[in-house]
């Protein structure tokens, strides 16, 4: 498990098809329209792989499938060459802490009735981590101790997002699944979170699979981007190639729109 072979994908999704006839549950916002059809991609250790597409295109469903919240109709999801979909529940539970989600809806991801310190203490207890103090943990995500006694509603969006990231780090994950990590944050905070994620990826040896719709910002973080629409992945490329030679018409429209909005201030 611990081996980190750069050439072996940490996550390999092949021919994944998700049908929502029966499954509409999961921690991420429920998806009602788009199923996922025959989607394949590979994420290598240390990668930041981004899936970009409009809301409801199926991005979140893929994350839900990896986390075991929905059962795909078809396909396979290999995590370190083990098929998560065919393994026994017990075995799956062993792997699961290594894959941690960071919710899109981080405003509701924290229990409103507990103080931040209680929320984090609880997670540390569940994962029986005694090697790190709460103070150290929130320092990792760039927060000060003054917020520990706050309730979630008293924190700003950026602060909440940092707490959610801190909590996701507690089980010592290998792979972080980030659902729209910065899309509801303003530019100064988004850039700070992007920097935080970049640093964490190096320091903690993490791999990211992230989904987003914000191309300009994601461009600063991701090294590979897949473009998704209506349940299909149309195009997958290294980030800069995608911006220079977008092929599919939808990719081109998306890249263009992103570039046009960037022209408001150059």
């Amino acid at each position: 498990m611990e081996q980190k072979d750069k050439n072996r994908p940490i996550l390999s999704v092949s021919n994944l098809t998700i049908d929502y006839a029966f499954y509409r549950v999961g921690p991420f916002s429920a998806q009602h329209h788009a199923a996922v059809e025959n989607v394949s991609f590979k994420v290598y250790p240390g990668d930041c792989f981004a899936i970009v597409g409009e809301s409801g295109c199926g991005k979140t469903s893929i994350l839900n499938a990896i986390l075991g919240f929905v059962r795909p109709k078809n396909g396979a999801i290999f995590y370190n060459e083990q098929n998560l979909l065919t393994m026994a529940r017990r075995e799956f539970r062993l792997y699961r802490p290594e894959i941690q989600p960071v919710f899109q809806d981080f405003h509701n991801a924290l229990n409103p009735r507990f103080r931040i310190i209680e929320i984090l203490k609880e997670s540390l207890r569940i994962c029986s981590r005694k090697d790190i103090s709460i103070e150290e943990l929130i320092a990792v995500v760039g927060l000060g101790t003054d917020i520990l006694n706050y309730f979630p509603h008293q924190l700003s969006g950026g602060q909440k997002q940092r707490i959610v990231i801190a909590r996701a780090l507690i089980p010592k994950p290998q792979l972080l699944l980030l659902d729209e990590p910065v899309s509801s944050l303003d530019i100064t905070v988004a850039v700070q979170i992007i920097k935080l994620l970049k640093n964490l990826r190096k320091k903690e040896n993490l791999t990211f699979l992230l989904v987003s719709h914000n191309l300009p910002i994601i461009r600063l973080l991701a090294n590979r981007i897949a473009i998704m629409k209506n349940g299909h992945i149309f195009e997958e490329k290294p980030t800069e190639d995608l911006f220079e030679t977008p092929e599919h018409p939808y990719t081109r429209a998306l890249v263009n729109q992103a570039l046009i909005s960037c022209q408001s201030y150059q």
């Binding site: 917020i147 700070q192 911006f243």
Partner: protein, 323 residues
């Protein structure tokens, strides 16, 4: 004559050790114009929206005055504790669109019925026919009004839910529309569709718009004037064109530099790592810990307001010069 003006709005907690959410905010909204409110998360953008509608929790102490002025209706509010003053404003004069559109609608009622509810209140409880709702829906840009009429909020896609929320707000025939981050969950293409429709509706219904956003690109391309908030303080209020070419406040300057590098796809240079803790007000300039121009004076008292040309101003001891 501005349609809405806010003078010295302050919002504080009533605790033993009071914290300040907003301090001394002033701005005006001219009829037919768009005012963008920008600022980082926790700066107080949503608090301003809620204050304008009088929907802040009672645990907060609100000071300042607000003047609403549209044709024959003139409302001045100096005492925020009296809820009744806001009743004639809410929905029918000023409408608010929340970021989470689907979540802010009633999940148990079909969209058509929700629109009927609002139209009824706006039209003093006359009965509203289904046809008039369908007409209204097609006027607000829906190609299949019948489908929207019959849908429950959860059946709408993210982009569509935002469009319906816009229609719901318009059903009350407001003069001012406040949109609190309406596009932050949409991808570039759906966002553009939404902004285009918003622009059309603004013209059609002769609206004045307060657009809250964390997307500076949108703020710059949409607005006539911009209010820049930093930790609950209004640090600069300017015409958009002026702000773009000659920002005065160092925070605005830093923001624009950051935006430029993201727009040009460069990782911005090192920024101050210190993360602000919301509502934690010092007596000095709120930006003094990050500002490259700060001196001891900046840390002592909040810098006085420099008026450029009524009502536009900035608050800084050592403003940026024009490049």
């Amino acid at each position: 004559m501005p349609i809405l003006s806010i003078e010295n709005l302050s919002v504080r907690t009533r605790k033993f050790k009071p914290a300040s959410l907003l301090e001394d905010i002033s701005f005006v909204l001219n009829p037919g114009e768009t005012l963008a409110v920008i600022g980082e998360s926790g700066a107080g953008k949503s608090t301003i929206c809620r204050a304008i509608l009088g929907i802040l929790p009672k645990s907060l102490e609100i000071r300042g005055c607000m003047n609403y002025n549209h044709s024959e209706i003139e409302i001045s509010i100096g005492n925020w504790d009296d809820d009744r003053q806001f009743t004639p404003l809410r929905g029918s004069e000023i409408a608010l669109i929340f970021q989470d559109a689907a979540g802010s609608m009633n999940p148990l009622r079909k969209c058509g019925n929700q629109i009927r509810d609002i139209m009824k209140t706006a039209d003093n409880h006359t009965s509203i026919t289904k046809q008039s709702i369908l007409d209204f829906l097609s006027q607000t840009g829906f190609r299949e009004p019948d489908t929207i009429y019959r849908s429950y909020p959860h059946q709408l896609s993210g982009g569509m839910a935002q469009h319906v929320a816009l229609a719901l707000a318009l059903a009350g025939q407001p003069k001012i529309l406040i949109a609190d981050e309406p596009t932050s969950s949409l991808d570039a293409i759906s966002k553009q569709k939404y902004l285009d429709r918003l622009a059309i509706m603004k013209k059609k219904y002769d609206l004045s718009l307060i657009f809250i956003t964390h997307n500076l690109n949108d703020a710059l391309s949409l607005s006539d004037s911009i209010l820049v908030l930093y930790r609950g303080r209004a640090v600069e209020f300017r015409k958009t064109a002026d702000l773009k070419t000659s920002p005065k406040h160092p925070y605005t300057g830093d923001l624009l530099n950051l935006l430029r590098s993201v727009n040009q796809s460069r990782m911005p240079d090192e920024m101050a790592e210190n993360f602000p803790v919301g509502g934690n007000h010092d007596s000095g300039c709120p930006y003094c810990q990050k500002c490259s121009r700060a001196t001891a004076l900046c840390g002592k008292t909040f810098p006085p307001k420099t008026i450029i040309e009524q009502p536009y101003y900035f608050c800084c001891n050592y403003p940026l010069e024009k490049k």
